[in-house]
C-alpha cells in the first residue's frame, strides 16, 4: 500500500462525514444512557449519579407489569427463534443444495417475503387473518406472527454460510456410508453451526425488538416489553423508561457482538478457505 495509492482513494470530507454519521447514530442512545443514571426525577436537569431508576425498574410500582412483559418478550423470542431457525435451516439447505429448478426464485421470494412486505401491512394482514378464522389474539398469536417474520432473518446468514460450504463435504460423508441424517448431524451441521447461531441470535433480537406487529396481534391484556414501553411513553418519558431502554440496549449490543464474533471466528476456520 503506497501512500500514493492511499491518496488516490481518499476524498476530502468523507472522513468527517463518517464521524458525523457515528455521532448521529450514537448521540441519542448515549444521552438516554447517561440520563438513566440521573438522580433528579426532573429528567432534564442533571442531579448527580444514581442507580435509583434501575432499582425502580425492578422494585418500583410498575415493576410487576414490566416483569410480566419481559417474561413474555423473552419466552416468545426464545420459542420464535427455535421455530424460525429450524424452519430456516431446512429451507436454506433445500435452497442451496438443489441446483437449478423451476420456481426457485419464487421460493426465494416467498422465504424473504416477511422482510419485503412493510411491517404495518404484515401487522394488518395478520390481525385480519386471526380475526377472520376466529383465532383468539394473545400470547399464541404473537408467537406465530413472530416465527413468520423471524424466518428470513435466520435464513439469510445460514444460507450465506451454506453457500461457502462445498457440497462435497456431505457427499464425502454419504460416500463413507453415512445416511443423509448422519451426514447432516455429524458433518454439515457442525460446519454450518456458526451460521445457525448467527441466524438464531438475529432472529432472537428481531423478535425481542418487534413493536408494530406485536401491537396489532397481542389482543387485550398481553404485553411484551416494547408494547409496555410504548404504552408508558405515551404517558411521557419517565426516568425508569430510560433505565429499561438502557438495559434493552445493552442486551441488543451483547447479542450483536456475540453474533458478530461467532461470524468472524467461523470465517477464520478452515471451512470457507478450503472449500
Amino acid at each position: 500500500m503506497s501512500s500514493v495509492g492511499e491518496r488516490i482513494k481518499s476524498y476530502p470530507g468523507f472522513g468527517v462525514l463518517a464521524a458525523v454519521c457515528l455521532v448521529l447514530l450514537y448521540a441519542p442512545l448515549l444521552i438516554v444512557m447517561i440520563y438513566s443514571f440521573n438522580e433528579s426525577p426532573s429528567i432534564t436537569r442533571w442531579g448527580g449519579f444514581s442507580l435509583t431508576w434501575y432499582v425502580d425498574v425492578f422494585t418500583g410500582s410498575e415493576s410487576s407489569k414490566f416483569k410480566v412483559a419481559a417474561w413474555n418478550s423473552i419466552s416468545i423470542a426464545l420459542m420464535a427463534t427455535i421455530g424460525a431457525t429450524t424452519i430456516a435451516t431446512a429451507a436454506a439447505i433445500g435452497m442451496t443444495r438443489s441446483g437449478y429448478w423451476r420456481g426457485k426464485s419464487l421460493s426465494f421470494a416467498l422465504i424473504n417475503l416477511p422482510i419485503m412486505v412493510p411491517e404495518i401491512v404484515t401487522a394488518v394482514a395478520t390481525l385480519i387473518f386471526f380475526s377472520a378464522i376466529g383465532f383468539k389474539t394473545g400470547y399464541l398469536s404473537i408467537l406465530l406472527a413472530h416465527i413468520v417474520f423471524c424466518i428470513p432473518f435466520a435464513y439469510l446468514p445460514i444460507a450465506a454460510r451454506l453457500q461457502g460450504i462445498s457440497s462435497s463435504y456431505e457427499e464425502a460423508a454419504i460416500d463413507l456410508y453415512a445416511s443423509r441424517w448422519q451426514a447432516f448431524r455429524y458433518v454439515l451441521l457442525p460446519i454450518l453451526l456458526p451460521g445457525v447461531v448467527s441466524g438464531a441470535l438475529l432472529a432472537f433480537i428481531v423478535s425481542l425488538d418487534d413493536f408494530l406487529i406485536t401491537n396489532f396481534v397481542k389482543g387485550a391484556g398481553v404485553e411484551t416489553l416494547p408494547t409496555a414501553i410504548f404504552g408508558a411513553v405515551k404517558q411521557g418519558i419517565k426516568p425508569n423508561i430510560m433505565a429499561i431502554s438502557t438495559l434493552m440496549l445493552l442486551v441488543s449490543v451483547l447479542f450483536v457482538t456475540v453474533s458478530w464474533w461467532i461470524g468472524r471466528v467461523g470465517d477464520k476456520s478452515s471451512v470457507v478457505a478450503s472449500k
Partner: protein
Amino acid sequence: MNKLANDNESSAASGVAVQLSKVRKQYGGAIALHDVSLTIQDKEFFTLLGPSGCGKTTLLRIIAGFENVTAGSVYLHGKEIANLPANKRPVNTVFQQYSLFPHMSVLDNILFGLQMRGTPAGQAKKRARAMLELVQLQEFANRLPSQLSGGQQQRVALARALAPEPEVLLLDEPLSALDLKLRQAMRIELKQIQEEAGITFIFVTHDQEEALTMSDRIAVMSAGNVQQVGTSHDIYDAPANRFVADFIGESNLLEAQVLHRIGTEVSCALPGGVQVQAEISADATDVSSGTAGHLCIRPERLRLSMPNDPSLNVLTGVVVRQIYLGTDTQLVVKLAEGQVVQVRTQNAEHNSALPTAGSSVDLTIQPGGVRFLSA
C-alpha cells in the same frame, strides 16, 4: 469403439471390477454421456482422461452414486448397482478438494467411514492406525485438517477413503491442488499405495502426463464419448483417431489419401504428391485405397537427414524457426506442400549445429513413426 460394448452377461465373470453398459446421462436436453460402455478389471489402475467437460467426472460420480444414470447399467463385481444409493455402495472417493471434515481430527476423519459402517470401535481404531501408517502420518493423528499441508491433507483423504476397505477407490483429480514437485512425487506414491492395497483405482484427470505415468489402462474421453481405451503405449503410439493423437502429446497431423493397403500397412500420398508408408490399426476395416484421412507423426519421430537422401518417407522443407527448450530443440519446418510441422531433437544427440531459420532440410520419418488415421 464398438468392441468395447461387451455383452453384459460376461460382467459377472471373475476379474471384472466395474462394468458400465451403455451408460447415458442427460441434463435436460444436454447429453453429458453418450451410451458409454467400459470394463474395468480387478486391481487395475484405470484412468479416465480428457479435457474438462468431457464427462469423466460425471462418469466417476455415477459410479460413486452421486448421480443417477439416464439409461444404462452399472455393475460392481457383477452386481447391478445403478439403484443403490451412494452410502450403500462399497466404493469410496478421494475428492478433488479432499473435503476433509474440518471439525474432526485426522484420526476422526479416517474413523468416520468405519463408524458409519458399524465397525466395532477397537477394530476401527486399529484399521485407522494402519491407514495412517500406510500414508505415513502416524504423528498427525490428532491434528485438524487445517493444520496440515496440502500434500498431507491429500494423504489423509486417501487414508479416509481406503479405511473402510472399498471394493473400488475413485479419485477425482486428487493431485490437481498440489504444486508441481509434490504432484510428481505423489504420482509414484499413489501407484505404490494402489499396489500395496491391492484395490481397483479409478482415477480421473485432465493431465496426460499423470495418466501416462500411473495407469495400467487409460480411457481417453471427449464430449461424452470414450475415444480410446488402452495402455499408455497404445494410446501414445497408436492413437485411434485425431482427437486422441492431438490430445495426447504433440503430433503433426498431415492430410493424406490412401493409395493402397496391405494388412496394417498403407501407402499414402500427401497433397503435393509425396508418398509416405504408414501403419494402420487392424480394426480400421473401412480404410482402403482412396480413403482420405490424416497422417500422425510425433515430433520426436522426425529426424533431420542429409538433403537428397534417397530413402523412403522423407519430407522436404525450410526451417522457419528454431526454439531452444533445454533438453530439446524444437524446429518449426514449413514443408514444400505448405504444411507446417514440428520437429523435436534431443540436444545431447547433436554435435554439429542445428539448421537455422531459412535453411532447407530433409526430414526422415523413423520406421513405425507414422500412422494413418481415418477419423
